[in-house]
């Protein structure tokens, strides 16, 4: 591999990323475009015409969609060829998650099957386990599910009470316990079940087949959204699991669970993209059709604002997801070039970007919630009618902030990783924070050194990075070891990191687009960039001051507040006109075609 530097996890806070090193969705290759079209065609043909029926959880229907996805090869994209898959890159698997994400409940079933349902066996299975289960999971003959959550163990996943004891003859584990909220549980053939062996403090993982003795299932949960996605409780009563079905080593289950969640999070970041694009399409279609006061809704500034904001946040989320996905691929290649086995390289690479994965999960799910909420609002009363697709979009969006680690847990993860990074012996974060603090008040903080458009944008991003480092250092100085119980401060710092990462991602995407768009069109992409950097700066200011108000006072408060104000000051932009131009493109195309 060429000697391109691959950014380390969390390093974006310290280093200026280059557009030329950044992958953008406009660079999909021919096969990736075909795969994207294939996924869209599959939804159009097999899923979207049947949404009402799917939402009744008609027995057999979702399983048949999983079978059909398997026939097309959609379930084996990230499964290596030796196990019946296609061994495609991480980016390619994210493209499928993105496009199929527009499939409402089907998207959840697909994502759970190919992610948390298949990957534990792929990453941690023995050769025999892989040979036995992966080809069938990749073909859709088997559906997969992941059983971690219990009635009393949700966010605190390691506190589960499900137990396993070795049978007297040493050939089986006997499982007892209860799992809850299990996606695809209604029809899954293969379950990855987490349980503690004997009196272990840490989880182990087991591969349990649906028809093993002692497994039983509750009926489908009645849910607010993703009604067609199967969600059930599963009971294990003296369930007999052959010893060879222990997944990974004894006590390795919690690590497996966490590593799988890293992937689940980043995949969720892709999944919400497809759903967002579809909700935007419905929004603009309606705004272009509905007349009030003699004009189409899309003529009103207040509606244009919403349409623009939907599109901008969608565009930003796409930029961040594909930027990160390519880092994962590059990292995998790098590790493999260093002689690491393929599977281990995957696990390590995904672990490396745990902070980014948490950021994508939070930003993506909140972006989709914003898009779906405004989509409904644009429809007015009709949006509240169960006849309209946006009503389903709104209900189905909400779950994304809850599963794969709630957004609170993910915010804590992001901030925690930042702190861990700072505490490393060779880290310069705390020294840097002190230096930034000492230099506060100097003019060069606010006046860009560059004069060109992107030079200035990178200067602002550099300032936002300083704000993050300064706040982490100062907060840690103030609250020290109590840091983890000061969640309000951690949340605020996390919000700063989230805005920083996605703002930088969109700047890099737009910078790279310069040669791919006509100069006339390019104005609109710069508008997206301008509006978002403006928004992110304002949000970062607010979060920083929220944190600051929680620990600082007096002169120190004033000094830091002024500093943060400087770091988040950007030159004026006419955001009204910029948003109107962005909305204008959406309205003219009558679809999200950015």
């Amino acid at each position: 591999m060429e000697n391109k530097k691959v950014l380390k996890g969390g390093e974006f806070i310290l280093i200026e990323s280059k557009a030329s090193d950044t992958f953008i969705p406009e660079e999909f290759n021919e096969e990736q475009k075909m795969i994207s079209d294939m996924c869209g065609d599959f939804l159009d043909k097999e899923v979207l015409p049947f949404l009402d029926k799917i939402d009744t959880t008609e027995p057999g229907l979702m399983k048949s969609l999983i079978n059909k996805s398997g026939e097309l090869g959609l379930l084996g994209i990230s499964v290596p060829e030796e196990y019946g898959g296609f061994g495609q890159s991480f980016v390619t698997s994210m493209i499928a998650s993105d496009i199929l994400g527009a499939g409402y409940s089907y998207a959840v079933a697909y994502s759970a099957h190919t992610g948390i349902g298949t990957l534990p066996i792929l990453y941690y299975g023995t050769e025999e386990q892989k040979q036995k289960y992966l080809p069938k999971l990749a073909s859709g003959e088997f559906a997969g599910a992941y059983c971690l959550t219990e009635p009393n163990a949700g966010s605190d996943a390691n506190s589960g009470k499900t137990r396993a004891v070795l049978s007297a003859d040493g050939t089986k584990y006997i499982l007892n316990g209860q799992k809850m909220w299990i996606t695809n549980g209604g029809f899954a053939d293969v379950l990855t079940v987490f349980a503690k062996i004997d009196n272990d403090k840490i989880l182990s993982a087991f591969i349990v087949e649906r028809n093993f003795p002692g497994v039983s299932f509750n009926p489908e949960e009645k849910k607010m959204g993703i009604k067609g996605s199967s969600t059930v409780q599963i009971f294990f009563n003296d369930c007999e699991v052959p010893v060879e079905n222990l997944l990974g080593k004894r006590g390795e289950g919690f690590r497996i669970a966490l590593n799988i969640l890293h992937i689940g999070r980043i995949k969720l970041g892709a999944n919400v993209l497809g759903a967002g694009r579809r909700a935007i399409m419905h929004s603009v279609n309606y705004a272009n059709e509905r007349k009030q006061f003699g004009a189409f809704l899309s003529n009103f500034g207040a509606i244009k604002y919403k349409l623009a904001e939907q599109s901008i946040r969608q565009f930003v989320a796409e930029a961040a997801v594909y930027r990160t996905s390519k880092y994962v691929d590059d990292k995998i290649k790098m590790y493999m070039a260093d002689g690491m086995p393929k599977i281990q390289a995957y696990i390590e690479a995904l672990g490396e970007y745990a902070m980014e994965a948490a950021i994508l999960k939070v930003y993506g799910s909140e972006t989709l919630d914003y898009i779906a909420d405004e989509a409904l609002q644009i429809h007015g009363g009709m949006g509240f009618s169960a006849e309209m697709p946006v009503e389903r979009a709104y209900r189905d969006s909400r779950i994304n902030r809850i599963f794969e680690g709630t957004n609170e847990i993910n915010r804590l993860v992001a901030c925690d990783m930042f702190l861990k990074q700072a505490k490393k012996a060779d880290s310069e974060i705390f020294t840097l924070s002190k230096k930034i603090y000492e230099q506060l008040g100097t003019v060069e903080n606010i006046v860009p050194t560059a004069t060109d458009y992107f030079g200035k944008k990178h200067f602002y991003l550099g300032n936002l990075k300083k704000a993050c480092v300064l706040m982490l250092g100062k907060a840690y100085e103030a609250v020290g070891k109590q840091y983890s119980s000061e969640q309000e401060i951690m949340m605020a710092i996390s919000d700063m990191l989230i805005q920083l990462y996605v703002a930088e991602s969109v700047v890099l995407r737009v910078e790279k687009l310069e040669n791919l768009k006509s100069s006339e069109e390019y104005i609109i992409y710069k508008d997206i960039c301008d509006v978002f950097v403006y928004e992110a700066s304002a949000k970062i200011y607010k979060s920083a001051i929220d944190a600051l108000n929680s620990f600082a006072s007096g002169d120190e408060f004033v000094k830091i507040q002024n500093g943060i104000r400087g770091f988040t000051t950007i030159e004026p932009v006419n955001i009204k006109e910029a948003r109107r131009r962005v909305a204008g493109k959406l309205i003219e195309d009558n679809d999200y075609k950015f």
Binding site: E30, E31, K33, M34, I35, M38, D41, F42, K45, E71, L72, G73, L74, G76, I77, F86, S518, E521, E588, D589, D591
Partner: protein, 249 residues
């Protein structure tokens, strides 16, 4: 038997059409290219027949007259399931030129069944199939909505006013296909997509042929007049407008 499907590379049907160079050329910036939808149906039918005839169909080949930028579209056809592809390296300016190139290839390589879409979604010329039949001196069936081989016998149906004709023919022949020829276009599978690059795509140089037509310029359709609404109570006004303005009654 060997089947040949002629495919053209056209802008996605949802493309916003813009012209440049004094309205003499399509602005291709940002355009997504696809297999002409009717050709895609023809290809699907060809593959369905091949699957159903277990061994009787030796191969399904796709052919396109176009420059190198059409190759992704050709590979899409390979991903959908065609066995091989031919590209005649020429910018497809007019129907006569295209038909001449196709005829040349067909003469050399004996295809038994030749399928074309009824029109292309870009120029909507609807003339290549007919020209080809004349040049090759073989039968052609237009607006074909059904094609099958039963006990080695080719059976077709074509649309006519108020019904359809049932036709039998010998090979070789050309079927110019209309919607209805197959249910839905095939979605390529992962296997198809990943295998497309390893299937043969032969590029051949064109023979000389002069265009018989010259494109003067394109014009946009006249924008539709705004819809006039008449109050439901006011039947009299409606009748008057239909009579005097619309002049339809």
């Amino acid at each position: 038997m060997k089947i040949l499907v002629c495919i053209s590379h056209v802008p996605d049907t949802t493309t916003k059409i813009k012209f440049i160079n004094n309205n003499t050329a399509l602005d291709t910036a940002g355009v997504q290219w696809i297999i002409n939808p009717w050709d895609e149906l023809a290809l699907t039918r060809a593959l369905d027949i091949k699957d159903a005839q277990a061994g009787a169909i030796e191969s399904v080949t796709v052919i396109n007259v176009g420059l190198v930028e059409t190759e992704p579209t050709i590979r899409k056809a390979l991903a959908i399931g065609a066995d091989k592809a031919i590209r005649v390296n020429l910018e497809p300016k007019d129907s006569f030129v295209i038909a001449t190139q196709l005829a040349e290839v067909i003469k050399k390589d004996n295809f038994d069944i030749i399928l074309c879409g009824i029109e292309a979604a870009d120029g909507n010329g609807s003339s290549v199939g007919g020209m080809l039949s004349e040049m090759l001196d073989i039968p052609s069936v237009s607006a074909t909505t059904f094609l099958d081989i039963e006990n080695g016998q080719v059976k077709l149906q074509r649309e006519i006013d108020g019904g359809h004709e049932v036709i039998a023919t010998q090979t070789p022949f050309i079927a110019i296909v209309q919607k209805g020829i197959c249910k839905e276009p095939r979605i390529p599978s992962m296997r198809g997509i990943m295998g497309a690059r390893s299937k043969p795509l032969q590029v051949i140089e064109p023979v000389t042929a002069d265009s018989l037509t010259e494109l003067v310029n394109y014009e946009y359709p006249k924008s539709k007049a705004a819809c006039r609404k008449v109050d439901a109570e006011n039947v009299k006004e409606l009748v008057q407008l239909l009579h005097e303005e619309a002049k339809v009654i």
